[in-house]
Structures are given as structure tokens and as C-alpha cells.
Amino acid sequence: MPLGAYLTLAALVFAIGLFGVLTRRNAVGILLGIELMLNAVNINLVAFARFHADLAGILFTLFTISITVAEVAVGLAIVIVIFRVRRTVEADHLDLLRG
């Protein structure tokens, strides 16, 4: 398969993830959309690394996967705290900082 096929697939997954981030009300649902977008970027990195025979893209993917896992852990901890304080994880209701 040519490089363009992989990049198009990644662009589609990225667009779907963006749709999820924009339309979900639940904070956990928004996080799931972000996961999809990060996955699409990983596909891009690996595809470019493979087609340029360059190891750096593979290593970058390794780092982004690890950092994403840390991000999810912290993000969900924040979601749990918000739920404990406000009894909701609806993103529209979280307007504590509104003046």
C-alpha cells in the first residue's frame, strides 16, 4: 500500500475523534475522542518512519504512547475529583471559573 493510503486512514480516524471531542457531553467521552485523535497521529508517525526507513518516528511513537497513558491517568483522576465535588461529569455543567 502506498504512503497516502495510511495517511488517509489516519486523517479519517483523526476527523472521527475530533467529531467525538466536539459532540460528547460527558468528560470521559471527550477523553475517548482525544485517544482516537492521538492514535491517528501515531499511525502517521509510524507510516512516515517506515516509508523513510527512519527509526526516529518509531521512537517518537513509543514516547507518545507512554505520555498518552500518563495523560489518561491524570485526566481521569481529575474527572473523578470533579465528580466527587460537583456530582456530575457533564462538561457543560463545569463552569466553576465563569465570572
Binding site: L9, A11, R25, E35, A77
Partner: protein
């Protein structure tokens, strides 16, 4: 129609269908199961790109770790049974328009790009090369990554600790 094209088409269909399931299903728990399928399908794409090591990392960290954490978070914030887990979406039309615009913009660049060269030969064993690079040129970023993971662990513990 080579075997590689068939494999790519199959995994692309699975990946896109499960991604749509993640963003469209009203049940948040089903969305996580779809996300697990999408993550495994992404790992298979890595396999097609001759990166079996990343396939393993994807399965261990994403499909294993992330899905487990998210399931726990949902169990703590919602009830798994009943209707409370159902969730509605909003701005469906606007969200679809923005996503479509982003996709069209990216594909516009892809169409303009010159046709790519065929896949070059991969030098040697990828896992060996990754291991050598991690203790060689990428040793400092690897250590920083360890520091970041410790900080994230402590931060998550601090946020989620019980009061008092």
C-alpha cells in the same frame, strides 16, 4: 489484489467502524469496548507497517492499560446498570461539519503531494534497533520519560486521594 491490500482494507474497515462506534454509541461503556477494538486495529496497522514491537507496546499500554483505567473511572462516576450511563451528544451537525472540513483540508494536502516512493528495505531487526537507540541517542529522553511517569503517578494519586 495482493494479500497486503486485503489485510489493509480489512483492518481499515474495522478501525473506522469501531472509531465511529466510539463517538456515536449512546452507552459510554459500549464506547470503551469499541475503543479497545479501535486500539487493537491500530496495533494491526503497526504490524502492517513492519513494527511488531509497537504492536506489543500498543496492546500492553493502550488496549490493556488505558481501557482498564477508563472502565474504572466510569464505574466510579456512573452506575454501570440503568439509564444513568446513557449520554446524549450535542452540536451533531456543527461537529460533523468541522470534522469534515479538517479531513478535507488534510486530504487536500495529500492529493497535492508527489507520489511516494515504494517502501524501502527495513535495515535489520527493528526491536534490536529500538533497544540500541533507547540506550544510545535517545537515552536522555527515555530518562525524562521515566521522570514524567513518576510525576504523573504522584499527581494522579494526589488528585484521587480520599479526603482527610
Amino acid at each position: 489484489m495482493t494479500a497486503e491490500m486485503l489485510a489493509f482494507a480489512g483492518v481499515a474497515v474495522v478501525l473506522l467502524a469501531s472509531s465511529l462506534g466510539v463517538v456515536l454509541t449512546p452507552n459510554l461503556f459500549h464506547a470503551i469496548l469499541y475503543l479497545a477494538v479501535a486500539l487493537v486495529a491500530t496495533g494491526v496497522v503497526f504490524l502492517l507497517l513492519d513494527a511488531p514491537f509497537l504492536f506489543g507496546v500498543q496492546l500492553l499500554l493502550y488496549a490493556g492499560g488505558v481501557v482498564t483505567i477508563v472502565v474504572f473511572a466510569i464505574m466510579l462516576t456512573e452506575r454501570l446498570v440503568g439509564t444513568s450511563i446513557r449520554q446524549t451528544s450535542r452540536y451533531l451537525v456543527n461537529g460533523a461539519l468541522v470534522s469534515l472540513a479538517v479531513f478535507v483540508g488534510v486530504v487536500g494536502f495529500l492529493v497535492q503531494a508527489p507520489p511516494s516512493a515504494p517502501r524501502p528495505a527495513w535495515p535489520g531487526d527493528l526491536t534490536v534497533a529500538v533497544g540500541q537507540a533507547l540506550v544510545g541517542a535517545f537515552a536522555v529522553p527515555l530518562e525524562l520519560l521515566g521522570v514524567l511517569l513518576v510525576i504523573a503517578l504522584l499527581g494522579a494519586l494526589y488528585f484521587a486521594r480520599s479526603e482527610g
